[in-house]
């Protein structure tokens, strides 16, 4: 008898790519995609990023001055939201986590409404009068909105509608079973669906490296039979290009895919958090070198598409919009106390009517 090795064959092979068009100084590393040849389109994207940053700053100020509740800033992540907002069509369905304000603003959600939500008013997610009213609201629980995208995308496919669902979540959410169940099942029905992971390196105090031993988050796609890739999430051109390819592949029947956008959370987790307790300030300063707004600005300047006066005008406009949104938010009177019952069911069961009446009466008393 002789020793023989078992027959071992390679049955599957995976590779994760990382895409970048602009280096951190805004210099192109490759010929740019068509949309980035268009000066007007690039300026529109830059304007969205500048407005998002001004809005974000204003929201933090409102919280710090006691005029708004806890707020989750998107500082440093403006490129991802902008890329989503530009890559999706109006009829597509966006299922966000809670830091993609740029996408929401581009899709017609009003700054005032985002402030209303964080300011403690459910009407902030009603999107009254907005052009796009089929997107999902912000999702506060981590990752549990992601498997709902399976049902939404299944509905679109069942109706033979050429629409796509984009569900986003953070690096922390990828540790949750909900997200795995979604990734694992999406290909079963070849759904028109894109998963976007905004990997901002931190889940409150837990760094990315302690979330999982996986080398990349993109590779989680492979377990579900999906294409998965990384993109520089601070490079708005790369993020939009990669997203657009995934979205159009999904639209044309090519099925679901997953994108890990690498970015950095420059702010605390929320206004209730103090990242100095767990994060090295040198790391944050280093991350500022990769700021997505600065990168696109330098790129535009180098191409002669953004003058100093253009920049000043954009900044002024963005501040004015944010100020106006804050004023509108602060000037919005609270809803009737009955509002806590008025959208509980399509029609409030008579069993709960007395509670509604009591809340209404209490709301009329002084001090309420």
């Amino acid at each position: 008898m002789s020793h023989s090795s078992p027959a071992v064959e390679r049955v599957a092979q995976f590779e994760v790519t990382y895409t970048q068009y602009l280096d951190p100084e805004g210099q192109p590393r490759a010929p740019l995609p068509d949309f980035a040849q268009d000066a007007e389109e690039l300026r529109r994207m830059y304007r969205a990023m500048v407005q998002t940053r001004a809005f974000d700053k204003k929201a933090v100020v409102l919280q710090r001055t006691g005029r708004m509740g806890t707020y989750a800033a998107c500082l440093g992540q403006e490129a991802i939201g902008t890329a989503i907002g530009c890559a999706l069509r109006a009829e597509d369905i966006f299922i966000p986590a809670y830091r993609e304000y740029a996408a929401q603003l581009l899709r017609g959600v009003r700054m005032r409404d985002i402030l209303l939500n964080w300011g403690g008013d459910e009407r902030g997610m009603h999107y009254e009068g907005c052009a796009i009213r089929h997107d999902f609201p912000l999702s506060v629980p981590i990752g549990s909105h992601v498997p709902q995208a399976i049902g939404v995308a299944y509905a679109l496919k069942l109706r033979r509608e050429p629409r796509v669902v984009l569900a986003s979540c953070g690096d922390g959410a990828t540790s949750k079973g909900d997200v795995y169940e979604a990734i694992s099942s999406a290909k079963v029905w070849n759904l028109p669906l894109v998963f976007l992971i905004s990997n901002n390196q931190w889940a409150i105090s837990l760094p990315r490296g302690r979330q999982t031993g996986a080398q990349t988050l993109a590779q989680k796609a492979f377990a579900g039979g999906l294409p998965g890739e990384q993109v520089d999430g601070n490079d708005v051109i790369a993020t939009r290009a990669v997203l657009a390819a995934a979205i159009e592949r999904a639209r044309s029947g090519g099925g679901p895919s997953l994108i890990e956008a690498i970015t950095y959370r420059l702010h605390d987790h929320t206004t209730a958090d103090d990242a100095r307790r767990y994060r090295n300030e040198a790391e944050v300063q280093e991350a500022w070198q990769r700021c997505p707004v600065k990168r696109l600005k330098q790129h535009l300047e180098a191409r002669g598409l953004l003058s100093a006066s253009d920049e000043a005008a954009l900044q002024q406009e963005a501040s004015a919009f944010a100020d106006q949104a804050a004023e509108e938010f602060l000037a919005t009177p609270p809803a009737s106390p009955a509002a806590m019952f008025d959208h509980l069911y399509a029609q409030l069961p008579k069993q709960y009517e007395w509670q509604r009446q009591e809340a209404l009466a209490r709301g009329l008393k002084p001090g309420h």
Partner: protein, 329 residues
Amino acid sequence: MPELNLIEAVNLALRSEMQRDAGVLVLGEDVGRNGGVFRATVGLLDAFGEERVIDTPLAETLIAAMAIGLATQGFKPVAEIQFSGFTYPCIDQIVNHAARYRHRTRSRLSCPMVLRAPNGGGIHAPEHHSESVEATFAHIPGLRVVAPSTPARAYGLLLAAIRDPDPVIFLEPTRLYRLFKQAVEDNGEALPLDTAFVEREGQDLTLVSWGAMMQDARAAADRLAEEGISVELIDVATIKPLDMDTILASVAKTGRCVIVQESPRAGGWASEIAANIAEHGLLNLFAPVLRVSGYDTIMPLARHEALYIPDTERILAEVRKVFEFAPKA
């Protein structure tokens, strides 16, 4: 009119509503080719195709989440969870999302879905297959919780649950699935939700129950009738929202009340009913309201489940306490 058992009535309601409304979808583990582990969905795949009868991967969170996603897009998903003990992985989806999308978005999105599951013990199954979860869901604002106790009510209430514009947890009495048959007309007529059924009128005592325990309550009422005690028997049917008007009207007439539930005693729905009677019907009572319930322990495996689940004797014992306290005049 066909005589159907309860599981056949569930199947008929699904088939009937899928025929009427192309937006009704069925999804869950083994619901397609296999027709469901209890055969609730048998024949639906052949009748309606695999787009509308969806065999899902083995992932309960996904099933609930998928139903939510479908419901937000205007479909009427009916998700099956194979046993109510496996609804626990769905709770995050149901509590944090299904019950809240309407509220969260001021009715911009809503969730007209049904989550069906067999509920309760008595079928000698492994652990986790015999739970009674109604009170867990009934605590959650924004949900409806329904528990039929006859084939005809299963048919009519399931139609109502599917047509309801908000999420409904539909808990079917596992051990009654094939226990008896009843004439069920496939007339497409829903029974009212949020409404208790006075199944039998009586003068001396109000006996309240729901789901599988109704069968023991019926037997107890029969025995008491032989002893000359006239029982008013109420099937709560919709656990949440609770129809206290019907129960209070009955207690005002009888002055005595016993409530029967299978689930653990503390924080069960019998407690909610008893508290409401104390608040709104105290002066009508001749005796304390008593509860018959499962024990505050883990649902035992098969060898002891008959000791855990209330039976006719335990119901009769509590009823006798009531009449000892306040004898019939």
